[in-house]
Amino acid sequence: MAEMVATRDVYGKTLIELGRENPDVVVLDADCSQSTRTAWFREKYPKRFFNLGVAEANMIGVAAGLALCGKIPFASTFAIFATARAFEQIRNCICWPKANVKIVATHAGISVGEDGASHQAVEDITIMRMFPNMTVIVPADGIETAKTIHWAASFHGPVYIRLGRAKFPLIFDEDYRFTPGVASTLFEGRDATIIACGLMVSESITAREMLIQEGIEVGIINMSTIKPIDRDAIIRASRATGAIITCEEHTIIGGLGSAVTEVLTEECPVVVKRVGMQDQFGVSGSPRDLLKHFKMSAEYIVQAVREVIGRKKRQ
């Protein structure tokens, strides 16, 4: 049984490392620092931590100002408020002028759980993916989270990193190397390929094991950089298996599923099924129950795989 780790906890720890390594790293939060774990940075480096209060739009603007004066700001709060509340501030103050701001949002997706619809950001990938100059990353586990946070600090330009509240299994080991814009192929497939991000990668691994019992071999691609998306990886998978399933704990409108199908329709159309939130709001429940409720857990990924393979055969 793999170790269970929440990506936000890794974020908190990694920020402390960054604070030690680079005096230009500063951290901002909007009264959610206990939950986002930026409070751990504040304990070590209080002078470089700014709590802007419950005022997300202002936090984004202040982060832009700090960046324009040479700082490397990490601005954090819950994904719904970090992205949707400050939508236009991110567009005009960060993306347009290419300000070196890292927006690291926690509590993304329905795995937020019990807090319910108001707090479950299932649109943030769509929103962040629209902006020119923005890099969008959804780490698949704690190991990848640490690597992407370190990378973001070293890269000059706007970055959005989507993290979760819940603990879920580690899938990589320390040797894993994150390359921005390059998807990692976890398993080569024969019958279909799952392209997933975030905690849906580990869910897909479970689904793959279930499918092996039925003699179905699916590949799995971890598409952790959603923008710029790895077009080659998508094209290769499509040519190799002729059937694609996308998995995200996010709306299928504009998210990973859309990003992948945009490439497929232009380059090499194949049968596709998008697993994710189907144009609906979340509800309260435990993360595990919610994944089932919204038909995103491993058994539903299995069903989706069977469905696309059936469609492929009928073609």
């Binding site: 202002n58 324009l68 005009n92």
Partner: protein, 271 residues
């Protein structure tokens, strides 16, 4: 750099003449709000601010964030007259491939500090820059110019709170209190009074001046440097369209450029 009040007044007139010529040439743009802040912009660039046109990214420079970005023709004129770029280029304003965009674009124009145009956001960026100055123990100052209508934006008050909370005495804001916005009088559209008391209540040191009197702008700015713990708000009573009789106080000239004929009349008045 201009020295005497007289010289600054002449510079402000020159800035106004360029505003008129640029807008007439472009055939669009914001006349009223550019003219109303021309004296503050001129005083900042030609007397108050420490800056170097040959080295626009000089780390120790003072910074001006034009939060009411639509008034950028005033700043373009001041930048060109300071030597940031050739003066004739002002006439390319708003044209395809011009580095003088309709609203400030910091990646396009040397000397433009921050990209703005969406109202209500510049003060937050100014707060971030002032915070960075404190962190780095630099003595540069951060200036920003806000529109009166602009202060109807909620984010302005988020930023106002933060500036006072972090005791940003290196931040000095000018309110271009010209009493007009697009849809009419500020008082009628959405009253912002009591202005002085609001900013004071938010923890700012507030000074009120005639925003067209260079000596008052200079005096207020000098006083703002004496603040130890609070940001400064200099409320500038101004006239929208100032300097051009038929534009003064006329709401319709907010987002309208002068015609060729109007420009000639305006330039004659601004000699």
């Amino acid at each position: 750099m201009a020295e005497s009040i007289r010289e600054l007044e002449d510079k402000a007139k020159e800035v106004r003449r360029w505003i008129i010529q640029m807008l007439a040439e472009a055939g669009s743009g914001h006349s009223g709000g550019s003219l109303s802040c021309a004296d503050v912009v001129t005083t900042l660039y030609f007397k108050v601010m420490r800056h170097n046109p040959k080295d626009p990214k000089w780390l120790d420079r003072d910074r001006l964030i034009l939060s009411k970005g639509h008034a950028v023709p005033a700043v373009y004129a001041a930048l060109a007259l300071s030597g940031y770029f050739p003066i004739q280029d002002l006439l390319t304003l708003r044209r395809l491939n011009s580095y003088l965009q309709g609203h400030p674009d910091m990646l396009a124009t040397p000397g433009i500090e921050v990209s703005t145009g969406s109202l209500g956001q510049g003060l937050s960026i100014a707060v971030g820059m002032a915070l960075a100055g404190k962190l780095d123990q630099k003595d540069y100052r951060v200036y920003t110019i806000l529109g009166d209508g602009e202060t109807q934006e909620g984010q302005i008050w988020e930023a106002a709170m933060a500036a006072a909370h972090y005791k940003l005495n290196n931040l000095c804001a000018f309110l271009d209190f010209n009493k007009l916005q697009i849809d009419g009088r500020v008082e009628d559209v959405m009253n912002i009074e009591p202005v002085v008391e609001k900013w004071q209540a938010f923890g700012w040191k507030v000074l009120t001046i005639d925003g067209h009197k260079i000596e008052e702008i200079l005096r207020a700015e000098a006083l703002s440097r004496e603040n130890k713990h609070s940001p400064s708000m200099i409320i500038c009573h101004t006239i929208k369209g100032k300097g051009v009789s038929f534009m003064e106080g006329v709401v319709e000239y907010h987002g309208v450029a002068p015609t060729r004929e109007e420009a000639e009349r305006a330039l004659a008045e601004l000699q």
